[in-house]
């Protein structure tokens, strides 16, 4: 009895520890820095202010919102650099929710890297909308407003991702009324058809199977002769794309086995 109690207590403790650690992992953020300035364009105060803003957006949406400002890509592609930073430093909760916008000053190139929940929120459309708002500030080297606009824009899309779909979902298609009527009519016919058919029991016999002499079937000639053949071909069907997913899908370089989405380009 005593042994059983100790076991029970141990099991409870293990469960508690596991729960706490899982809950911690789910609710914790991988990112500690939300604004990274490798070009030295921003002052410490500016970085601190912007960092707290993006940290708040990240916490509210449970999705890391990170901006990386680089002087140069040093031959690397912007998309790869963004993904690499994401894999190393970003990811909220167990599904690694996060969005990174990386901008290289020398090349004027940008790249989004999204993961987890943000992967489905930021399709090509949202990324293009976001960059169109941020690009004017990046062009004029107003990085404070660029980062601030990126943060508020990302926050807007994250907050409205679920709500945007609602109004269209709530619209009830009027075609359902005639469909329901047609299904009802068919169900009515099927439901009463059996009872109606039961009233008729006088039928002509089909064939004479009841009078076949048992074991009398003898097949003495059974042949198959090949005549000709026809070959047709059709192109393999292209994999259907989900319009809600970004067209750019890249494998994670972080060994997590996940994928990153997001567009990239030059401003």
């Amino acid at each position: 009895m005593k042994r059983l109690n100790v076991r029970s207590i141990l099991a409870l403790l293990v469960a508690l520890i596991l729960s706490v650690s899982i809950f911690g992992a789910m609710s914790s953020s991988a990112a500690s820095v939300y604004v990274v300035d490798e070009s030295g364009s921003l002052s410490q105060d500016q970085i601190q202010e912007l960092n707290s803003k993006l940290a708040e957006y990240s916490k509210n949406n449970q999705c890391d919102v990170v901006f990386v400002l680089k002087q140069s890509l040093n031959g690397e592609s912007a998309a790869n650099a963004a993904d690499a930073y994401f894999d190393a430093n970003v990811g909220f909760g167990s599904t690694n929710n996060g969005i990174v916008l990386l901008f290289a000053i020398d090349e004027s190139e940008y790249a989004f890297s999204t993961g987890g929940y943000a992967y489905s929120v930021f399709s090509d459309y949202e990324c293009n909308e976001l960059i169109s708002q941020v690009a004017p500030y990046l062009k004029s080297q107003d990085y404070v407003n660029a980062i601030s606009t990126f943060g508020s824009g990302a926050d807007y899309y994250l907050q409205h991702a679920g709500q945007q779909a609602e109004p269209t979902e709530k619209k009830h298609n009027p075609i359902w009324a005639p469909i329901a009527a047609a299904v009802g009519a068919i169900a009515g016919w099927i439901g009463t058809g059996g009872q109606k058919a039961a009233l008729t029991s006088v039928h002509q016999q089909q064939g004479a199977k009841n009078y076949v002499r048992s074991n009398s079937l003898q097949v003495v000639d059974a042949r198959e002769q090949y005549l000709y053949s026809q070959i047709t071909r059709v192109p393999r069907q292209q994999q259907q794309q989900n319009p809600n997913r970004p067209t750019t899908t890249r494998p994670s370089g972080g060994g997590g086995g996940g994928v990153h989405g997001g567009t990239s380009g030059k401003i």
Partner: protein, 363 residues
Amino acid sequence: MAGLLQYKCPCCGGAIEWNSTLQKMKCPYCDTEFDLQTLQAYDQELATDSPDSMEWQSEPGSEWTEGEASGLRVYVCKSCGGEIVGDANTAATSCPYCGNPVMMMGNFSGHLKPDYIIPFKLDKQAAKNALKKHLATKKLLPAVFKDENHIDEIKGLYVPYWVFNADASAKMRYKATRVRTWSDPQWVYTETGYFQVIRGGYLGFDHVPVDGSSKLDDTLMESIEPFNFQEAVPFQTAYLAGYLADKYDVDKETTVNRANERIKQSTQQAFDQTVQGQGYASVANEYSSIQLMNGVAKYVLYPVWLLNTTWENNKYTFAMNGQTGKFVGDLPMDKKLYWKKWGLIAGIAAAFVYGASWLFQLL
């Protein structure tokens, strides 16, 4: 005038009948039972009797036209002397005056004598019970039909049938296809191979029945099939006692067409099944030739209970296989009740689908 036959009880002289429950002859007056062998000897003895000099000749009435009178036959009951009017095909009936069962021997002599007979195994009460059961399970039957239903007439009738034995020799040709698919990174290929499939062989049929009475609906008679010929016995007039019987009025040359049709259909199906399930994607019959060999037709009497009832000026006829108890008969439908049920089911289904569509939208 055709000769009449009645079986008289050796004990009391009453007319004795075939009892389907006992499978024996039984006198309804003194309850004495008789074996069939005894009555067979009795029957043979009767056959040697000299013609009765008491026979009556019925004078043709002047009021009948030639056409009207030609189908009628007048018999005289040997028990009470009452006049029994039947048609040319009536072979067994009962006297309307004394109720005694009588047989018109002339309709069962020579080439008109049936080869076999299946005796009644089920009695009138079984037919009544079967009708009740038949009506009880029909949900769209007008309630008034059930409640007010009274059977106008129940009669046990030996129906003349022609039964055909034959060996069918068949040769079939089919066009069949086999389909194979494969693919490479760009294309999906489908190869359809076309084959000619030949089947030839034999199939035997025993005792395919075709109704030989023009008075009875052929479809109704086919509906109560099958009859088990294994229980048929060589014809004896004794089996007819207590039942009605008709001689055939549709000859075997006419009925053989229906037998051929049924045999051909079943032969086709049997050989089709030897091709289906052989890995073919499709099979279509292109040619079939069926030759019948060793065809033999026999004249038999099969037991049928016929029940008639009238409702709203329409006559409804039911039939029960007197051997197996299979009961058939089309019934009227309560249209009001039908549309009520239809509306209820349709309404529930439509509401369910419409509700589900809303739910689906909300999720």
